[in-house]
Structure formats: structure tokens, C-alpha cells
Symmetry: C2
Subunit: 118 residues, 2 copies
Amino acid sequence: MKKTNKSSGVRLRLVLAPGIAFGPGKAEILKGVKETGSITSAGRRLGMSYKRAWLLVNIMNHDFNGPLVKASKGGQSGGGAILTPLGERVLDCYLKMLAKTEKAVGRDLKQLKKSISI
Amino acid sequence: MKKTNKSSGVRLRLVLAPGIAFGPGKAEILKGVKETGSITSAGRRLGMSYKRAWLLVNIMNHDFNGPLVKASKGGQSGGGAILTPLGERVLDCYLKMLAKTEKAVGRDLKQLKKSISI
């Protein structure tokens, strides 16, 4: 079972241009960075390897017209990471779109759930 | 690049229960069966192997409380396949939900597209 299939509900994936997509995984990484201040912690929370979390961040930073996540060096506690203003805007926009989707299709989803075999 | 990332727009995935999801791929298979009368042709149209198309159909037929696709044997032209009434309902419901989603988030998507680097 895919990790993204664990809890029932709507998953929204936005294809912004051919080959450039933003969906639940990237949104969770941004949310995780915002809440934990670290790319590694954000990835760990999602059961994702350090390498994969960084890869997703690098892809996002490359796809948008500015970085969404900025790594900060140094300090006694080692490096951390924060969302840039653009990163905050992209995450906010995605979460708003997800909420609008849930509102728009919530009733249909409830109906459709009645058609499954469990 | 994933096939599903070729054209820009919204992708909607519904997790109906843990491990039971219905999204663009399954919807395209149902649409293809409806339009071509054949699981193999439906898969071919999506660049999918015969085996994968049948696998998706079998998963759907198992996940819902009745088959969505019914294979029909025989005739001079060999076997074909049709959507069952439940299959028609599930496809219609998904397509309506997709249209509602596109309407609900269309403006935001247009805005977000301005933030990418191409």
C-alpha cells in the first residue's frame, strides 16, 4: 500500500507545466520544514529518507522562479532550513486549494465510499 | 517524466478507504473501455501494457462492491468489455468531482502557474 493511501480523503496534484507537478508529497515536505525547521526532520516525519527529502526540495527550488526552502548553516545545533516567502505562499495556496476541493467534492466522496466492498 | 505530468491541470485522487484509491489512471481505463469496448484498447490508448490494464481492472472489480468492467466472450471479433451500471456510475461520479475541483481551484491554479520558472 502506498503511504499516501493510508487515510481516506482527497489527494490533489497540480501539474503546473509539462513535467512540473506539485502534490501531497511536496506539500508535506514544505509543511514539515515550516514546523520542524529541518529538511531531514520533515522527511523523517513522512517516513522518507534524508536523500529523498533533499531531492524533493531541490526539485521544488529548481521548478519555481525562486527557492521555496532555504537551508541555513551553522549555529551550535547545526544547520536548519526555513521556508522562503515564496515557499510560504506556495504552501498556503496549495492548502487553500485542497480545502476548496474537499469542500467541493466532500458529499460526492461520501457517496462514492458507499460503493466499495468493505 | 510521468505520463500523468504531460499536460498541465488538476489531478484528483480519491482514497476511499485505507489501500483503496481511485484516481486518473483508473478513470482513464474506465473511459477507455466505455469508448473502445476493449480493455486492451483502453490500455493501449494510455500507453499501458495489456497486463497492467487488466490488473487495474481486476483491482477495481475487487475493490468495489460489484464489478465495474465486465468482459464479454466470443463473437467473430473475439472478446470485448463493457462498463457495468456500477462502472458507469463510478466513472460519472469521478468526472463530476473532477469538474467541480477544476471549477473550485481554477483561478488559484492559474496564479500558481505564474510562480514557476519557465
